[in-house]
């Protein structure tokens, strides 16, 4: 019985981690005042190139680095168009998703039979293997569920906390938030807006790319012509940013909730059979309902938030989000 619970919790973590990367990345982008709808495409690019490079070098660090860099380059494209060329952010983001996913299929199909076999990249596989944290992993139930994961899981949580510290406790973070709130004010104080936005959007995109890589590795690195690894997670991340109220530490909790739904989709049967009296009904819920739940819940949060914030403005949404800044506009 406890094993089922442990396995269940374990899998929630597995499913929520790519979302955590993507959400943290998007929060970083949005804090600088830009809304990037290209998360899905950015993750796809980071995923495929990171994976291929990782297999080639047979090394996880290389995979992570390359996924970060390639996704950051996609972020740079977003920057060039929305910051330098003043293009509409929604359209640019959608185009990035279109083109990013297309590049994913282009590369995958192009390689065809040359697609590397993940199993044979032994060092990459072992790099991605679960690591038990001494001591903590011995705690019953929780130990196995939370402290016996691959290194990218721990890294994600560290990244989330570091980003939070970065925003709240450093001067650069303060300036970045100022840009997202009132770019005119930050600009007049000599903050180099263009540099700040470029760097943070690229960094945020890079983090999304690591999330994409994680998904690829988690699926055993097999390329399917019909389904992209990312499979809508990029869009969930955009939803999660709202759910987490633009805080990366809240995002840890938020992604866990979303991972919970996803895990229910796959593990509803074991839960139902182990706890027939309390959770027996789970077996009757169709998988599609669990798939749709994250989106439905976000929809609900969106609506509830907006109805509530009409009275008390509690949202942490950056004030200037989605609006391009051109200094000489008048």
């Amino acid at each position: 019985m406890l094993e089922v619970l442990t396995l269940f919790l374990f899998n929630i973590v597995i499913y929520s981690i790519p979302l955590l990367y993507a959400t943290c990345g998007e929060i970083m982008v949005e804090k600088s005042g830009s809304l990037n709808l290209g998360v899905e495409g950015t993750m796809a690019v980071g995923a495929i190139f990171g994976f291929l490079a990782g297999c080639k070098a047979d090394s996880l660090p290389v995979a992570v680095l390359v996924s970060f860099i390639t996704a950051a380059l996609v972020g740079a494209i977003f920057c060039i168009f929305t910051i330098t060329l003043q293009a509409n952010q929604n359209v640019t983001g959608l185009t990035i998703t279109t083109i990013g996913v297309a590049v994913y299929f282009f590369v995958g199909n192009g390689l065809g039979a040359n697609w590397p076999v993940y199993r044979e990249c032994t060092r990459l596989v072992s790099g991605f293997a679960d690591i038990e944290i001494p001591g903590l992993s011995a705690i019953p139930v929780i130990g196995k569920a939370f402290f016996s994961h691959n290194i990218l899981v721990y890294f994600a949580v560290i990244v989330a906390v570091l980003i939070w510290l970065y925003f709240e406790k450093t001067s650069i973070g303060l300036r970045l938030r100022a840009i997202g709130e009132n770019p005119g004010a930050a600009d007049s104080l000599g903050v180099d807006l263009v540099k700040y936005k470029y760097l943070h959007i690229m960094a945020g995109s890079g983090i999304m790319g690591i999330g994409g890589l994680y998904m690829g590795l988690n699926m055993g690195g097999t390329f399917e012509g019909s389904n992209c690894w990312i499979n809508g997670y990029g869009w969930i991340a955009i939803a999660l940013v709202i759910f987490a109220n633009w805080s990366t530490t809240h995002a840890i909790v938020g992604t866990f909730v979303f991972g919970f739904f996803n895990t229910l989709r796959v593990y509803n049967m074991p839960i139902a059979t182990t706890f027939p009296n309390t959770f027996g009904w789970l077996s009757k819920v169709p998988a599609q309902v669990f798939s749709a739940l994250p989106f439905a819940v976000t929809l609900l949060v969106l609506i509830v938030n907006s109805v509530r914030s009409r009275k008390t403005n509690k949202s942490n949404a950056p004030t200037a989000i989605g609006v391009n800044y051109y200094r000489e506009d008048r």
Binding site: T170, S171, R177, A178, N182, G184, L189, E328
Partner: protein
């Protein structure tokens, strides 16, 4: 080489925005430790010029010298390094941050980590310059004057030697202005050089050592404040001797057209923006509304025009209660409202649509069938363009492409076209040059002679005292009194605007704002009140 006498010298500066030339070949200098007033009408290029000093814009041509050395200022960062700080008219503050954090954003050498004791550090720096602030106060909760103080502390903190103040008094009360000027004098004593942008002559005479005058983007002259006169300055500013008097025709007034009683209106935030107002307008008079920006003028206008829910009270127009009617129905009664917001375009005009399409905004529903009658629209637009001499390539040009004065003429023209009997106009000359302003005053006077009751919400007290028949003063949504424009003193108005003087209950037998020959008797008012309550429920 001896240090230069001048803190800043501008030589041959030019700047244009698209087809609009904002600055043409400007030469200007600022002595060390002086207060220089930069005088010019709205649109004469003062702010543009200063924005080039502060690095917001870069000049198309010309050069800038600081302490006698040629420099290039291509970003606010450069300006900061050169010791130039600017307090913008629209404050550049992050509303959600605290006072201290707002200063911290631009602080050099603030280190990677945010210091825990930064609040104390900021407080200390502020007190060194003689200011007291609460570093943890959130900017959104500050008053306008507090925000301005914060802006000044900000530039001082960054070590600015030259401080530019862009129309600092526009949002201040008379008393707050005095305080600001004291601060300026103190900064001057401590060796700072100051440029104050303004178009108010009194202030120029009071505070400045020298006055530099711009006109239509060109540099005219710099004179010593002590040896000049207001008349002389006006001449420099406007370009020719100008009769500053506005013709105030006296005509037969009718009985009250629009009566407002016990009106309460809430702001967007839910605060009481109009608090128990009483007033009335007769046909053939201009009633001015004076008050500090944000005293409830906007909400009052919107309430009368039916754009804002009325919390309680009555608005009686020719004996009919307007409360509860929608905007369209109120407009059909002959009440026209034109409101020029700060960005000029936000309310009343659709900037991307053509002049013709904007002219039919209020009566397109009268066209027959499903379609908009564009021929009628063009004809009427042409009429308005001819009548008010609006400069536009054609009536199909988007309003956005017109200059400020012409935009305002389109708006006013449309309102007059509807032949109103009550015309509410808020800030109609906002941002206009003197010629255009006078043209607008003439239009308003013409309406008045036709027997229209005009409610004029203005910014410039001098203009209101000359143009209006009566002036009512609002402070924090409350009526402070209604006075005859020809009898009142400017100082009195200033005190009323700040709430220091209340003239509502001076005459025992006649409370302010209630007409003695009201369209209703006291009982009928009560009845009207009951009626409308019944209608609401």
């Amino acid at each position: 080489m001896a240090a230069s006498e001048y803190a800043i010298e501008l030589k041959g500066i030019s700047k244009s925005f698209g087809p609009v030339v904002a600055n043409k070949n400007i030469n200007l200098n600022l002595k060390k430790g002086e207060i220089l007033a930069l005088l010019g009408e709205n649109g004469s290029g003062k702010t543009t010029l200063m924005n080039m000093l502060s690095g917001i814009y870069t000049p198309d041509s010309g050069s800038i010298f600081i302490d006698g050395k040629k420099v290039v200022i291509s970003s606010p960062d450069d300006a900061g390094k050169l010791g130039i700080g600017m307090v913008h008219q629209h404050f550049k503050l992050v509303e959600r941050f605290t006072a201290a954090d707002n200063i911290w954003i631009g602080k050099k050498g603030s280190g990677f980590l945010l210091k825990k004791d930064r609040n104390k550090e900021i407080e200390e720096i502020a007190s060194k310059f003689g200011f007291e602030i609460d570093p943890t106060k959130i900017v959104a909760n500050m008053s306008v004057s507090e925000k301005q103080t914060l802006e000044i502390i900000k530039v001082l903190c960054y070590g600015a030697k030259v401080i530019i103040l862009d129309e600092p008094t526009a949002v201040l009360t008379v008393q707050e202005t005095k305080k600001l000027f004291d601060v300026c004098r103190k900064m001057k004593e401590s060796g700072h050089s100051i440029i104050i942008i303004t178009h108010k002559l009194n202030e120029v005479m009071e505070i400045s050592d020298r006055v530099a005058v711009l006109r239509k983007g060109e540099y005219i002259d710099t004179v010593e404040s002590a040896t000049t006169t207001k008349m002389k300055l006006t001449e420099l500013m406007v370009g020719r001797k100008m009769n500053l008097n506005i013709e105030r025709s006296v005509i037969e007034k009718t009985e009250p057209l629009l009566e407002v009683r016990d009106l309460c209106v809430e702001s967007d935030e839910g605060a009481l923006a109009v608090d128990n107002m009483n007033f009335y307008i007769r046909g053939g008079e201009i009633l001015g509304v004076a008050g500090i920006a944000g005293s409830g003028q906007k909400e009052l206008c919107e309430a009368i025009a039916g754009l804002r829910k009325i919390k309680s009270g009555k608005i009686i127009h020719k004996g009919r209660n307007l409360v509860g009617m929608n905007a369209k129905k109120i407009a059909a009664q002959g009440i026209a409202m034109s409101f020029i917001p700060e960005d000029r375009l936000g309310m009343g005009l659709a900037p991307s649509l053509s002049v013709a399409d904007n002219v039919i905004l209020k009566d397109y529903t009268n066209d027959k069938g499903l379609f908009v009658d564009r021929k009628r629209a063009r004809d009427e637009a042409k009429k308005i363009v001819d009548m008010l001499q609006i400069a536009t390539p054609s009536v199909d040009t988007p309003v956005r492409r017109l200059s400020g004065g012409n935009v305002q003429k389109v708006l006013l023209g449309r309102e007059i076209k509807s032949d109103p009997n009550v015309l509410i106009t808020a800030y109609p000359v906002r941002g206009l040059d003197i010629h255009s302003s006078y043209m607008i005053y003439d239009i308003l006077n013409e309406q008045k002679t036709k027997g229209v009751g005009v409610l004029f919400i203005g910014e410039d007290i001098d203009v209101m005292m000359a143009l209006c028949d009566k002036i009512m003063v609002m402070c924090h949504g409350k009526l402070q009194g209604v006075v005859h424009a020809s009898k009142v003193k400017k100082e009195e108005l200033g005190l009323m605007m700040t709430g220091a003087l209340d003239l509502t209950n001076v005459k025992v037998d006649k409370p302010a704002g209630i007409a003695s020959d009201s369209a209703f008797t006291a009982e009928e008012w009560e009845e009207a009140a009951d009626m409308s309550e019944g209608a609401e429920s």
